[in-house]
Symmetry: none
Subunit: 220 residues, 2 copies
DNA sequence: CCACAAATGATAACGATTTGCATTTAGATT
DNA sequence: AATCTAAATGCAAATCGTTATCATTTGTGG
């Protein structure tokens, strides 16, 4: 899941939101009306369409288009209105979020959609990991693990792309902020140390899976 | 004038154009939306930004960013529309070209900007710092200093915002990737160590200026 | 199935970063 | 100007991150 088309009425409010997503490694494209959305959807491939329900008219128009391009859609609403929620689903949205929401929540739902798309509607994940950004700790099925800053950011980065294989280059660039050297072993060390901590708390060290020659991936 | 950031809507059409420039000795980086542009502008130094005006909306957004990074901007347009031209200048572009244009013409204009830039640059500062991302070293008026990864990224971050006061919060977030604690001393330490290294090489430790209660700023 | 190369795992040593405490400085208050 | 206080700094110790090295695993071609 990489490229996201964000349809926001107020382009400015989309900016910092989009920036956040961008920081997390997504490529964002923001448009503010259905026609532009149409143009973009037809000329480029997107992995997800996020629509602010405040977009006037055209409600289901872009949806049709998205459907044609086999792109999943998540709608965003400003209210917690149940009717609006039902409406979104009726229109054929794949999921729904009401603002303000946590980026993490969005990511989780994106992952669910992604999996649904790939594995044709399988079990919903029940193991959920809670992250604590302030003390670099995570809690998984009752076990709490405290990592170091770097271990934490690596783990979280992988978690946020669960299922995907993340290359060492990417991790090195985006988490460690340095280039990957020829015989660079330091990612391996962080992974190794993290796995040890997982094992110490009776969690599977295979939460982080190594894909030989390619990188690492997170898997429950 | 070396590194150019090219913002093109259709990435393909940017390719051969970019290739031409590349053949002429420029280092080109092509992106196709404002956010990517933002990311690149914030993480690397460019000497010039070329923007295809066909980039939808966002018109002035990337411009703001480029301004922040002290990078000149030339806009490219598909029409010969005078309004568009005026609009470009209003937005603050340094120059304007309508497609199709001669690469020579572009070069001429780039030189003009360069000269313009150098003049003001010389008036303001004559010292220029060269950065080496691979070994975290910088060269300033003949003196070469090697920093650690973190010191280097902090220094560069401040340098890229020269004149501005950058808050500790921001540095902590964007460079150290952690929250600023109440009695957090680690930025101070990095600054202190960097200053020491500057002094060791007969460079002014006041290149990094502390603004009591606010943060740090870079100043020649 | 074996030999070989390449990738990964793991330990330890080393260097960098962070933390805690003591001290100094800048600015506000009187 | 003397005092007070919050912020900044210096230094040392503890923690964390990186590198060097060797062992182990995995995949490839004979």
């Amino acid at each position: 899941m990489r490229r996201i088309l964000l349809i926001e009425q107020k382009i400015e409010s989309g900016f910092d939101f989009g920036k956040k997503l961008n920081d997390l490694g997504y490529e964002i494209c923001i448009v503010n009306d259905a026609f532009q959305a149409l143009v973009h959807l037809e000329s480029q491939l997107f992995d997800l369409v996020l629509v602010d329900l405040a977009i006037p008219k055209m409600d289901s128009f872009w949806l049709l288009v998205a459907r044609k391009c086999h792109t999943p859609v998540i709608t965003l609403a400003n209210t917690n209105d149940v009717l609006e929620k039902l409406n979104a689903f009726e229109m054929g949205a794949d999921d729904y979020l009401s603002k303000p929401f946590n980026i993490r929540e969005l990511q989780l739902r994106m992952n669910v959609i992604k999996r649904r798309g790939k594995l044709t509607e399988n079990a919903i994940r029940q193991t959920i990991i809670e992250f604590d950004d302030t003390e670099y700790s995570l809690t998984c099925s009752g076990h709490k693990i405290t990592l170091t800053n770097t271990e934490y950011r690596l783990f979280k980065y992988l978690y946020e792309r669960q299922g995907e294989v993340v290359t060492k280059e990417e991790l090195q660039q985006r988490v460690l902020h340095k280039k990957l050297g020829k015989f660079d072993r330091n990612l391996d060390m962080h992974i190794s140390n993290t796995r040890k901590k997982l094992a110490d708390r009776n969690l599977s060290r295979d939460l982080i899976n190594t894909v030989r020659g390619q990188g690492y991936s997170f898997n429950f």
